[in-house]
């Protein structure tokens, strides 16, 4: 069954905000687990969250992570926010 977007968005934002004190970047699988969905289903929602600028990508070059837009040390340190 397709995931409800608004419901999924609320779940992700709530969980990620809760964890902000300790962690600001998350693996794709962490997000899929929050949604309790298969990766392909979760990807549709996560792509849209990026399009709507709620989430943003972070990449080391070899690995990609996701975070709430504008959060974490780097956004401030590099003047990218």
């Amino acid at each position: 069954m397709a995931l409800d977007y608004e419901e999924s968005k609320a779940k992700i934002v709530e969980k990620l905000q809760k964890k902000l004190k300790t962690k600001s970047k998350f693996y794709f699988n962490d997000l899929a687990k929050i949604l309790e969905a298969k990766p392909r289903e979760a990807k549709k929602v996560i792509n849209r969250l990026v399009q709507e600028e709620i989430l943003e990508y972070w990449s080391s070059g070899s690995t990609s992570l996701y975070g709430l837009k504008g959060t974490g040390k780097q956004a401030h340190a590099e003047d990218e926010d």
Binding site: F28, N47, E78
Partner: protein, 437 residues
């Protein structure tokens, strides 16, 4: 006069090989003189500062680059790799020094005009330093600032018909050999398949959702010019089903010295007369070739496609006519557990549009790896952790002796209850009638 003194880097120039330090110094000078009057959009002294920060790294014995970043172009999770230095006051030219990966054209065929366009764009909006090509095959642009990224992306996609490549936990830029465009050994059209899958899997290429990187590479024959068997999570290697075609007259021409062996390669010194027994038959790894009088004979079913005989005598021996490809999976570089070569998964499949059989295998593998793979675990590592048998179950491919690498005789076979008549349940009393405890 150089902006920074670089005695340690200068030493690198003294070796016998061409030095990237000399190249960088040359580029720094070109930018300083700016004969073509380019309106540089990033600091003019970017290359000077790059040399300066590298010198400092040598001096300190530690890197001054920070790890990764949030930069990118809108909607893409790959293709741009954020790089920042931790000495921005001293080396302001490289405070931002992002990498961009450009999806190279199939077979790395391009025109001089295309290259000139890219270089002009990169001189204008970047450092002018490129890497031709990265190990995934991309054209790599080294060093630009954040505001330039969208500008470069717009120019490339709207005016040059050119996309960015993959980076991060994405499908990486698919890479292929020159294939049938130039090579008689090619068993399938590598560029057609590479292009088709690049278009088909745009979402996987640009929006990261994999546990880690994933690479496709396409080699037209087992010579593996793009080293797919060593580097790609999925290697597509051309092969043939029928017999190697032999032109016995040409064999004799090689034996008689009328045609130079190895397509005249290694001809810089006198190796003596060509000895077909020593240089071809005796070097066959499966010992499936021999001479019967003047005739070269091949026991084709023993051939393991090493390509040696064909490479030595290309005018006499040719690949078979019934061609296609083998799919091997799981190669990787040595971060965990050492380097790994690909393992045979599909011994033979025709490479014909719309490539549905191939896509079925790819998608089944991705479904398995996306669900079962740990964060930062390559496919080859998952195969090792869960076993090749799990891969077969996930892809629905039946086991085949050609998948067994070693031992080649008496392999262990793990049967499951539903594969054994009556399963593993048995009447213990009946068993005890014949076997004492």
């Amino acid at each position: 006069m150089a902006k920074h003194k670089t005695p340690l880097l200068d030493q690198l120039e003294s070796g016998p090989w061409p030095s990237f330090v000399s190249d960088l110094k040359q580029q720094a000078e070109v930018r300083a003189k700016n004969k073509e009057k380019v309106e540089f959009q990033i600091p003019e002294d970017v290359v000077e500062d790059l040399l300066g920060i590298l010198e400092l790294s040598f001096k300190h014995g530690r890197t001054h680059w920070k790890h990764g970043g949030i930069v990118g172009v809108f909607g893409y999770g790959g293709g741009v790799i954020g790089r920042y230095c931790d000495q921005p006051e001293q080396f302001s030219g490289v405070a931002h020094f992002h990498t961009m990966r450009v999806n190279q054209p199939g077979g790395k065929f391009y025109t001089a005009e295309y290259l000139k366009q890219l270089c002009d764009l990169w001189d204008f909006r970047g450092s002018g330093i490129t890497n031709m090509h990265g190990s995934t095959g991309d054209i790599i642009f080294l060093g630009t600032t954040t505001p330039q990224l969208e500008e470069i992306f717009y120019e490339m996609t709207h005016n040059y018909n050119q996309d960015l490549g993959g980076s991060g936990s994405n499908l990486r830029t698919p890479s292929d050999c020159i294939g049938q465009a130039r090579c008689e050994y090619s068993c399938y059209d590598t560029q057609a398949l590479c292009y088709h899958l690049t278009q088909e899997y745009q979402d996987e290429l640009h929006r990261p959702a994999f546990p880690y990187k994933f690479k496709f590479k396409f080699d037209g024959c087992p010579n593996c010019c793009v080293a797919s068997i060593a580097r790609a999570d999925m290697s597509f290697i051309g092969t043939w089903k029928d017999d190697i075609r032999i032109d016995q007259e040409a064999v004799q021409a090689y034996v008689g010295g009328e045609i130079a062996p190895n397509a005249n390669d290694h001809s810089g010194r006198d190796w003596g007369a060509f000895d077909i027994q020593k240089e071809v038959c005796d070097l066959c790894p499966t010992e499936c070739m021999w001479m019967e009088g003047d005739k070269l004979m091949i026991e084709n079913k023993e051939c393991n496609r090493c390509m040696h005989c064909i490479n030595v005598m290309p005018r006499a021996l040719r690949i078979g006519k019934e061609t296609g490809l083998s799919i091997l999976v799981g190669a990787k570089a040595p971060i965990l557990d050492g380097a790994q070569m690909s393992s045979m998964l599909v011994p033979f499949v025709k490479a014909e549009e719309p490539y549905d059989e191939i896509k079925e295998v790819i998608e089944a593998i991705w479904d398995w790896w996306m669900e079962e793979g740990k964060n930062r675990e390559r496919l080859g590592e998952l195969m090792k952790r869960q076993g090749f048998q799990r891969l077969l179950e996930a892809t629905g491919i039946a086991p085949d002796p050609r998948m067994v690498k070693e031992p080649r005789s008496n392999p262990y076979i793990f049967w499951k209850a539903d594969e054994v008549p009556g399963g593993f349940e048995r009447d213990i009393d009946e068993f005890r009638k014949y076997h004492q405890r």
